[in-house]
């Protein structure tokens, strides 16, 4: 690596308004993501979070059933609607009537109790919280179904649970209560999706920075001067890519600190940084490859965009993969490292093939750059 060239590249990066803007935009994105995660939790499980103070979803009820309504009242605000359930059935315009009732009373849905075992549920699925109300109602009605099954079975046998509920889970919590913001939905979305996305933002940007640096020089016709200098191809690539690598890793580290500052624990930071280093090298290597194949920034930008879309799909999309193969997905290891205080050594095995891939991609970029230069010059 040539220190003078590397220093010049670093100066170019930190003074480039586009990258400064991208850095500020990332801060906004990270804060926005946190907000989105808390909002998602408030929709998926409003009872578990205090972030968004909303009224409980309102459910209208026609008909009488004390047991059902007392169970529903734990999670929903019930509004009793006067009316005869059988009249609603005979009207032939149930849905229109239900919609009117829902609109008039500001409800997310309507439960019609015909009898101990017959129910109709109307849901206004244009309202986000109707999904949560649906879940609550389904759970309560399942309990009713279980109760009736138990009653029917107990006429024939002593303990119905032997058949209905053969395995029970007894739960014990040691060490005190957890925090309300560690609700399962929040943890799953943060560590399963959003933290990997946040930490990989700088990585995706790195590919662009590499192509900007190399292809930009080609467009400005200064690349030929660089090639004509006594520097080797490897020195040129390292001098251009190492500053980008340093800046990218620094950004990822800053986002880790920001997450911790906002109360979201991130574990195994040193190992996490090693994984991010390997991923950064892979994407930087891809950037070198693209730079070798592109003559203009327009071409390279488009190729980078397509590459990032494919990479995102490959890493984030929930495709059906044979058990065991998903361990090769770097996000799997990233999530494990970030969310578990301790990770067994065997789980770190994917680092080896990933590191090998990183070196291979970088080497391929170097070879392609040399080959294409020969053709150009």
């Amino acid at each position: 690596m040539n220190p003078v060239l590397a220093r010049k590249e670093l100066d170019d990066i930190v003074s480039e308004r586009l990258y400064i803007f991208a850095f500020i935009a990332q801060i906004v994105i990270v804060m926005g993501i946190l907000y989105a995660a808390l909002l998602y939790t408030s929709v998926a499980a409003p009872q578990t979070t205090t972030f968004v103070q909303t009224e409980r979803p309102r459910l209208g009820v026609i008909g009488q059933d004390r047991e059902i309504t007392s169970q529903l009242e734990e999670d929903l605000e019930l509004v009793t609607i006067q009316g005869d359930p059988s009249e609603l059935a005979m009207s032939g315009r149930q849905e229109a009537l239900a919609q009117r009732i829902i609109d008039d009373h500001g409800l997310v849905g309507l439960l019609v109790i015909r009898s101990e075992s017959e129910f109709e549920v109307y849901l206004d699925n244009t309202q986000l919280l109707s999904g949560y109300a649906d879940t609550v109602v389904s759970d309560v009605l399942s309990k009713r179904a279980m109760k009736l099954k138990r009653k029917a079975l107990e006429e024939k046998m002593e303990t119905a649970d032997i058949v209905l509920n053969p395995i029970e889970i007894e739960t014990t919590v040691i060490g005190g209560e957890g925090s309300s913001e560690t609700s399962p939905e929040f943890i799953v979305i943060m560590y399963g999706l959003l933290i990997p996305f946040i930490l990989l933002l700088p990585t995706f940007l790195a590919t662009n920075m590499v192509t900007d640096s190399i292809v930009g020089e080609k467009e400005r016709k200064t690349y030929e001067i660089l090639v004509a200098s006594p520097l080797t191809k490897r020195e040129i690539i390292l001098s251009k890519t190492l500053p980008i690598l340093a800046v990218t890793l620094l950004q990822s580290f800053l986002w880790i600190l920001l997450l911790i500052y906002k109360g979201i624990p991130v574990y195994n930071i040193p190992l996490l940084m090693v994984l991010l280093l390997i991923l950064d090298v892979i994407f930087i290597g891809i950037g070198v490859l693209i730079s070798a194949l592109s003559d203009t920034l327009k071409e390279s930008n488009l190729t980078v965009t397509i590459t990032i879309i494919i990479a995102s799909l490959a890493m984030f999309a929930p495709l059906s993969i044979r058990q065991g193969l998903y361990r090769l997905n770097p996000l799997n290891l990233l999530t494990k490292l970030a969310s578990n205080p301790r990770v067994p050594l065997r789980d770190l095995a994917p680092l080896i093939p990933l590191a090998a891939l990183a070196l291979l991609v970088l080497y391929a970029g170097e070879v392609m750059l040399k080959k294409r230069e020969t053709l150009r010059l």
Binding site: S117, G131, D134, M157, D161, V163, E168, T172, F316
Partner: protein, 549 residues
């Protein structure tokens, strides 16, 4: 102009890489829709990504000799990383090696007909504590189901489902094969979000078309041809709109193919294109003003960030109260599910905005300094605008104060929001905001006068009149915004609020701006004039907040 338009279209179509990205987008949509469809077919939103495989490390202490069903179910659960332990180890829980420990006791025997109890121990302060039960439950339920079937046979009993539930979704739902259905979140949030993606992809076309032409120096030969300069603007606007429309139609075709129930598709296309036209016109303006591709890139990124954040925030806030926030984006969200409210105001306002911005674009292109350089500063442009508006004739006073009044409303709102947040964050006090906001408004209201005064000496009478008019215009525009918000939030109080504003707020605004206008004409009194106007305005604000008025 037809020729220019065809040229623009051809240059995009002939670029193989643009076409490739269009095809890739469609493939992406084909890939995304089934994924969202399978996520959201139950009422519950659930997230499944590869990162969540083996998300919960569960220690298992199996003391039993007959637990085959449960072990099989545990190992098939991709969310669990099953770690078999020889004995219960509390330190493994506390250190985070495992998120929970499942103890299968010695008396757990699946061959016996009895209720089997397993024990799950979790560590409260552990971050995954709450998620362990949720992850484990499906495995226990699966093993339970297998045992239920076995025992039904053993006891010779059958269990019918005694409860009859009819569930109906009131907005039309398409039931495809397999019983998939689409939830409200998908229809009123994700679909509108995806419908706006084409606008984010047209930025590179605009960049290439406007700034790229200037960098490649092909604009000179274009201007040498016998064409109107305005045709340049319209041809680029139309070609960008054409590609946005094409992508939008393709995406709608994919949605229809997949069976997503979209209502009012014609209206959706119209409204989305009206919104997109406003964004394209603005993007063109930024591109014309930029000197280089990089500068234009930054400007477009800023614009797209604002658009994207507005889109996400308005769709997110919508779920609090459908009537609370009516933005152009939420209108599309409503149309998707069959609700046609709010169709008048926003489309009309956006069409007017687009017309105005295109007119500004045409003015830009007619200036040689914009096309060839040196590029005039924004201040210079505003001064030119102020002078031009004022010189249009007798109505010049009105045009100047109206146009710059709109500018002042936006500028003062942004400034007040930024200052407000900073002051509260830095000092933790809100009292300081009263004089601060008054100062901002009094300083910004006569914006037109400032720019005009830099190019033309103003007489005292002219400045007083312009100042008063600026105050009036600011009041009128502010009242329109108030009226709009009040109509949605407290419709019964609309007239009272308007009456109060006319009686009290109007004289304050007019008087304050007239004073500042005097200060613009007599420059040595400018600072004193602004302070005096601020003092009057502050007293008024205090009276209002103190409940005197």
């Amino acid at each position: 102009m037809q020729t220019l338009f065809k040229e623009e279209i051809t240059s995009v179509i002939s670029n193989k890489r643009y076409m490739l990205s269009l095809i890739l987008q469609l493939l992406l949509l084909f890939a995304i829709l089934p994924v969202f469809g399978s996520f959201l077919s139950t009422g519950r939103i659930s997230i499944t990504t590869p990162a969540l495989n083996e998300f919960i490390p569960l220690g298992v202490v199996d003391e039993s000799s007959s637990s085959a069903y449960l072990r099989r179910a545990l190992e098939a659960n991709t969310k669990l990383e099953t770690i078999y332990l020889d004995r219960y180890d509390e330190s493994a829980l506390k250190s985070g090696k495992v998120a929970g420990i499942l103890i299968i006791p010695r008396d757990y025997d699946e061959s016996l007909n009895k209720v089997l109890v397993v024990r799950l121990i979790t560590y409260g302060p552990g971050i995954k504590e709450g998620a362990v039960y949720d992850a484990l439950y499906p495995s226990v339920a699966e093993a339970s189901a297998m045992l239920t079937e076995k025992r039904k046979e053993a006891f010779g009993v059958s269990i019918e489902d005694p409860v009859k539930i009819e569930k109906r979704f009131l907005s039309p739902v398409v039931v495809t094969e397999g019983g998939s259905r689409f939830s409200g979140f998908f229809l009123s949030y994700l679909v509108p979000l995806m419908l706006f993606f084409p606008i984010f992809m047209v930025g590179s076309i605009i960049l290439d078309s406007v700034v790229g032409e200037r960098e490649k120096k092909t604009v000179e030969s274009l201007l040498a041809a016998p064409i109107k300069r305005s045709w340049l603007v319209y041809s680029k606007f139309l070609s960008a709109s054409f590609f946005v429309l094409l992508q939008l139609l393709l995406w709608l075709a994919v949605f229809n193919l997949y069976g997503v129930p979209l209502h009012n598709q014609g209206l959706i296309i119209a409204i989305v294109m009206i919104i997109d036209s406003a964004i394209i016109a603005t993007a063109l303006l930024l591109a014309f003003y930029s000197r280089t591709v990089k500068e234009a890139n930054i400007a477009l990124m800023l614009l797209y960030t604002v658009v994207f954040v507005s889109l996400i925030v308005s769709l997110s806030i919508r779920y609090f109260d459908r009537g609370l926030l009516a933005t152009p984006f939420t209108i599309v969200s409503s149309l998707v599910v069959g609700d046609r409210t709010g169709l008048l105001f926003w489309p009309a306002a956006l069409l007017i905005y687009t017309g105005l911005v295109l007119a500004i674009n045409v003015r830009f292109v007619e200036r040689d300094d914009i096309i060839f350089g040196p590029r005039p500063t924004v201040q210079r442009l505003l001064e030119d605008l102020a002078l031009w508006l004022f010189s249009t004739g007798r109505a010049g006073y009105i045009y100047l104060t109206l146009v710059f009044g709109a500018f002042a409303i936006v500028y003062s709102t942004v400034l007040e929001a930024a200052l407000g947040i900073s002051v509260v964050f830095a000092f933790g006090v809100t009292n300081l905001l009263i004089p601060l906001f008054a100062f901002v408004e009094e300083a910004v209201k006569p914006a037109g006068l400032y720019f005009l005064a830099r190019r033309r000496r103003l007489k005292r009478g002219e400045a007083l009149l312009l100042g008063a008019l600026s105050g009036f215009m600011f009041f009128a525009l502010e009242s329109a915004v108030f009226a709009f918000a009040t109509y949605y939030l407290f419709p019964s109080r609309l007239l009272d609020i308007l009456r109060m504003r006319i009686a009290v707020t109007l004289p304050i605004h007019v008087a304050g701006s007239a004073i500042v206008g005097y200060g613009v004409a007599e420059r040595r009194y400018f600072a004193a004039a602004v302070l005096a106007a601020t003092a009057v305005h502050t007293l008024f604000n205090l009276a209002v907040t103190g409940g005197v008025l």
